[in-house]
């Protein structure tokens, strides 16, 4: 059953040094505020998992908290590279970054296997690609009925999955709608689940496209209005595309990046997001 509690306490209790952490979101509902709390608490040596690591993972990597990234596409969508990610991979700054790299189809199926508590998933993928030469989480299986050789991908079971949703009720049941990506799979694959929400409502009214995660699969819910910014929450906010573009020059420069993190994340007092989470 999910407790409704402060983001600070929830992150401290649920996310630990060395954990494998998935903070999912396909452009929509990305849990920025929770990731910033991880930075403030200096939780480190993380293995981060996500299909589309974007600016928030750039920030965690640049802050030196990440030892490994499991992913399928790393970029600032529509803008360009993730410069902190590149600096870590290419130059080992601020620390080397190990990679486990897949295709989207492979990553999606790894989460499906994880949610299904199967050790692997099967897909017709990776054919002719060099990707399998650089990872030990792609292999093959042979269909026992047709003899066809197919790709097998190892299940993903994060220690913790962190997602942002629109609403929770007082019992800690959560509803999200709009693009919901692989969030259900990422949550059900994890040992522990933290959900930040825009608000708590008396009753979760069924929505078109709504996905409900019952309270008994969630460990903690934290109320963080705007907690997905600069990503967005359908029905509550729109994507701050300007921020994603403004991020590019900040992330290009190590000093500018460190200054930004200090001023906007670590310095809790000046961080409106932080203020909202108490």
């Amino acid at each position: 059953m999910a407790d409704i509690r402060s983001l600070q306490d929830a992150v401290a209790d649920l996310v630990h040094d060395g954990d494998t952490v998935a903070m999912e979101g396909f452009t929509h509902l990305i849990p920025y505020a929770a990731a910033h709390e991880v930075i403030r608490q200096g939780i480190t040596d993380l293995t981060l998992v996500r299909m589309t690591p974007d600016v928030i993972y750039d920030q965690l990597i640049g802050a030196g908290l990440v030892r490994k990234l499991v992913f399928s596409w790393g970029g600032n969508p529509g803008v360009g590279s993730l410069h902190r990610f590149r600096d870590a991979v290419e130059n080992g700054w601020p620390r080397p970054l190990e990679l486990d790299e897949h295709s989207h189809a492979g990553m999606a199926n790894r989460y499906v296997a994880g949610a299904s508590k199967l050790p692997f998933a099967v897909l017709r993928g990776y054919r002719g690609s060099d990707i399998p030469t650089r990872t030990d989480t792609v292999s093959t299986v042979v269909c026992p009925f047709t003899g066809e050789e197919l790709a097998a991908v190892a299940a993903l079971n994060p220690d913790v999955t962190v997602i942002h949703a629109q609403q929770a009720d007082r019992a800690g049941n959560v509803q999200m709608w709009g693009l919901t990506g692989v969030q259900k799979e990422a949550a059900l694959a994890a040992d522990r689940v933290l959900v930040t929400v825009e608000e708590v409502v008396e009753e979760l009214a069924p929505r078109p496209g709504g996905i409900v995660l019952p309270t008994w699969v969630i460990d903690a819910v934290s109320v963080v209005p705007g907690g997905a910014h600069p990503s967005y929450a359908t029905g509550y906010s729109t994507r701050d595309n300007a921020f994603y573009q403004a991020w590019d020059p900040i992330a290009r420069d190590r000093e500018a990046f460190l200054k930004w993190i200090e001023e906007n994340v670590r310095d809790n007092v000046r961080n409106s997001e932080g203020a909202l989470t108490r």
Partner: protein, 273 residues
């Protein structure tokens, strides 16, 4: 999702009565390539521009499918990312991402996959993972595979759109992210890939298509005022040229107007700045 190299901007050209850029030539021809498609799996960047322009011109009924899970998106502006809210709000259906890749893409439901690329070789294989920067330097990091390997494998056919330079059109890929035609004819079949693979690579200089017998990309059309020599010079391998090289039709005023309207509406961050 496949990255498209940034930083190259189209140069202005003049043909007849109309002014248009080489980027616009590329985008208009890319849209035209979708005239007969029912469904298109759309990569972000140039492919998304082309697919949205197709809906505004040659193929109003084209079903746009984005890997974020949207089927039948009808955006009024160019999305900055494959997860912009308008893609979901205007869609016929929004499905979970695993379903998109398993039931719809792998399920063989999609006619055309439209991809960009960082590096392409003569068999239309694609690299979007890493580039070799020399013996003493670390590999240069690209965004990675995204959906491309399975898009290229499972769509009925694949279209590609990217700017033409020796940096992008290379003799040898540093990494094969996504198989096009492999090492030549028969490779796709041998690997059990359901789709026909790349059928056209549309650039700012012209159009390359695989030769039916060798599967090697051949220059079949140039854009107005582009010479074959210029295309050869921008290609990192010894480019084969068709016996008869056609010239693409210049953009119509309607096409240009539609493209510019889409771009003006889709100026990234416009409404949030």
């Amino acid at each position: 999702m496949t990255a498209t190299p940034a930083g190259t901007t189209g140069t202005t050209e003049t043909t007849g009565a109309t002014d248009f850029t080489s980027d616009e030539l590329m985008e208009v021809n890319a849209a035209r390539a979708l005239a007969d498609a029912t469904t298109c799996f759309v990569g972000i960047g140039l492919p998304s521009t082309a697919a949205n322009l197709a809906r505004a011109t040659v193929n109003p009924g084209l079903v746009l499918i984005y890997e974020s899970g949207t089927i039948g998106s009808k955006p009024t502006r160019l999305p900055l990312s494959i997860g912009d809210g308008e893609l979901a709000e205007t869609a016929d259906a929004v499905v979970p991402v695993p379903e998109m890749f398993n039931y719809w893409l792998q399920g063989g439901r999609i006619d055309v996959g439209f991809l960009g690329a960082a590096q392409v070789d003569r068999y239309a294989n694609i690299n979007t993972t890493v580039v070799d920067r020399g013996p003493d330097k670390p590999e240069g990091r690209l965004p990675g595979a995204g959906g491309a390997p399975e898009i290229a494998s499972n769509c009925g056919k694949v279209l590609m759109v990217l700017r033409h330079s020796t940096r992008n059109f290379v003799e040898r890929l540093d990494f094969v992210t996504t198989l096009g035609h492999g090492g030549g004819p028969g490779d796709r079949k041998r690997l059990g890939m359901p789709g026909a693979g790349p059928t056209a690579v549309i650039t700012d200089l012209g159009i390359l298509r695989p030769d039916p017998s060798t599967a090697e990309l051949v220059l079949t059309e140039v854009h107005p005022d582009v010479t074959v020599e210029r295309v050869r010079a921008a290609t990192g391998w010894e480019l084969t040229v068709a016996d008869t090289v056609g010239t693409t039709e210049p953009p119509t005023p309607h096409e240009l107007a539609a493209l510019r309207a889409l771009k003006a509406a889709g100026k990234p961050g416009k409404e949030t700045r």
